[in-house]
């Protein structure tokens, strides 16, 4: 692994997400960084702002049949099917490594029902290393005919309340972009007690193989991520920043420090790097080094000077 060559000591890169204090605004995006250990030979993990792990459900899930991924222009489609080891194995097998890293561990959760989300929060609240919970509401509500929680403000609020009741740690609600007006859901979860929102999750997309006339993904449709979605994500972060007063975490197509700082300017307090880590496993650290260099060169008092500093008109 390359040595750390950007000096950070004298720089103020700290940000806070409610009561959660981060040494810098760069986190990993759920489902793109495994359980962190996968990246230990590429990234100085202890330098990250926080680690967000793969979405966890109450029971283990096997995931979708292959093909699960397909590359598209400047991006990729995925239909992994939320494969994960389940909360019990996560706590016994993955948490010991994660909590020893010395950076906040944010656990992404997903469920089929409001009650499942509550139970997950309760289980994770018993695990001391969990710094915050990120709630993936882009999942279908099985009891409500499979409509995604994240597309209905009332259902999103109900999930938020349930998770808040289940645990004491900060609760971040991860918004779905597959809605007409993202600010409606953002406001609903803020009212329901969310400590922060993160956005965006993947945009639903599709690709077809002309030769076989079959969908490229066995699941037919999947989530689009990567640089292709950045402008949409940035627009949504900007809109949500106008609509709520809780902290926002920007996600979507971030591959460089410049990308990340656009999100800060649009109103995000922190960012998550996703698909870029597949291409460049060091992407999170490169983004961090780039932000640090910018803060030094521009002689900013702190990285927080950038947050919401967009100039319009």
């Amino acid at each position: 692994m390359e040595p750390v060559n950007v000096k950070m000591d004298e720089l103020d890169l700290r940000v806070s997400i409610g009561s959660l204090k981060l040494q810098n605004p760069v986190m990993t995006a759920s489902g793109t960084f495994g359980y962190a250990r996968e990246f230990e030979s590429y990234v100085h993990l202890q330098r990250l702002g926080a680690v967000v792990v793969k979405g966890i459900s109450l029971e283990p899930r096997a995931g979708n049949p292959p093909p699960r991924i397909f590359e598209t222009a400047c991006g990729m489609l995925n239909a992994i099917g939320l494969e994960n080891v389940g909360v019990d194995r996560f706590i016994s097998e993955k948490m010991p490594y994660l909590s020893a890293l010395g950076v906040p561990v944010i656990v992404n959760i997903l469920g089929d029902s409001v009650d499942e989300y509550r139970q997950l929060a309760e289980r994770l609240a018993e695990s001391p290393g969990v710094a915050a919970i990120e709630v993936n509401i882009s999942c279908p509500n099985v009891k409500k005919g499979g409509v995604a929680f994240g597309t209905d403000p009332q259902m999103a609020a109900a999930v938020t309340k349930a998770v808040k009741q289940g645990c004491q740690v900060p609760v971040i609600v991860k918004l779905s972009p597959n809605v007409t007006d993202v600010t409606l859901v953002a406001r609903a979860v803020e009212e329901a007690g969310a400590d922060a929102v993160s956005l965006i999750n993947t945009l639903i997309g599709m690709a077809i193989d002309l030769k076989s006339r079959r969908p490229r993904l066995a699941n037919v449709i999947g989530g689009l991520s990567g640089p292709a979605i950045k402008p949409v994500a940035l627009r949504m972060v900007y809109q949500v920043a106008q609509a709520v007063s809780i902290p926002i975490i920007g996600i979507g197509g971030i591959a460089s420090a410049e990308d990340a700082m656009e999100f800060l300017l649009a109103g995000a307090c922190a960012v998550q790097v996703g698909t870029a880590s597949f291409v460049n496993p060091r992407a999170t650290e490169d983004v961090l080094d780039g932000i640090a260099t910018y803060v030094r060169e521009q002689k900013l008092e702190s990285v927080r000077d950038l947050i919401g500093a967009l100039r319009i008109g």
């Binding site: 093909p67 640089p227 880590s277 496993p281």
Partner: protein
């Protein structure tokens, strides 16, 4: 774990047959750590398109730290790689995945189809080293025709390894399938078969080995985004139910562990 992300220099690019290219990279750190069956993820473009790295088996390494990949041009990524010039820097990740489990050289039979021979050359070299050049493993190569097959044999012959060839059209070697050739070798449960190639071929090799009680390892391919166990995109179904991940559980598997839907 000792995976490395590195920019390495392209030392040589050779077109060994129409649409088949061999790249020689100066990658001493990765070469030193690599075992046969492992692969590298290669970035094919500087910019964002194509976005994802492409996986390639480690074809051969030498003591000077050179690492070779051998590939067929099938799409945009491989087309770009085929155009790379000597002296260019390529970003690669590796060595990735789990390699072959090496038994005894004398009992080994390597069965490759088309580009599936890529990891088998490195494997054959290791077998030779292991037996100090004494006992050579047996190698069966299959391809569509003479033009495809002959260029792939050269490296094995150079190592002093005899190659049993089979072509679909009979233009070179045996007229038929690699499994027909495999049957004539009278392998036993003491033997070990190592196979890589098109899925139907590996399925046929597996079924034959299963019937004859011969241990068989296969190297399988899927689409990949990360190559390091992070995206969970490279799933293959397991016989016991559920999925394995080709990049982190494989790409080499005991053939009997996988679900062969043929």
């Amino acid at each position: 774990m000792s995976q490395i992300q590195q920019k390495v220099e392209l030392i040589q690019s050779e077109v060994i047959a129409a649409g088949t290219v061999r790249l020689t990279l100066n990658a001493p750190d990765i070469a030193a750590a690599a075992v046969p069956g492992q692969f590298v993820m290669v970035q094919t473009a500087q910019g964002l398109d194509p976005l994802l790295r492409r996986p390639f088996s480690i074809h051969q390494i030498n003591s000077e730290g050179l690492l070779q990949i051998l590939f067929k041009v099938v799409g945009r990524g491989t087309e770009r790689l085929a155009q790379c010039r000597t002296g260019e820097q390529l970003s690669i990740l590796g060595p990735l995945g789990n390699g072959f489990n090496l038994g005894e050289s004398g009992n080994a039979c390597l069965v490759g189809g088309g580009m599936g021979i890529a990891p088998l050359l490195f494997l054959a070299s290791r077998f030779l080293q292991q037996s100090h050049g004494g006992v050579t493993p047996r190698v069966i190569l299959g391809a569509r025709n003479r033009e495809e097959l002959v260029p792939l044999m050269g490296d094995f012959l150079a190592l002093g390894i005899e190659v049993l060839a089979a072509t679909d059209d009979g233009s070179f070697g045996y007229h038929g399938l690699v499994t027909d050739v495999l049957k004539t070798l009278n392998l036993t449960s003491q033997s070990s078969v190592y196979s890589c190639g098109p899925k139907p071929m590996m399925a046929a090799v597996h079924h034959l080995c299963q019937k004859e009680n011969i241990p068989c390892q296969v190297s399988v391919e899927t689409v990949m985004a990360c190559g390091m166990g992070a995206c969970l995109g490279c799933a293959v179904p397991l016989k016991a139910g559920g999925y394995a991940h080709v990049c982190s559980d494989g790409p080499v598997f005991e053939a009997g562990e996988l679900l062969w839907s043929l």
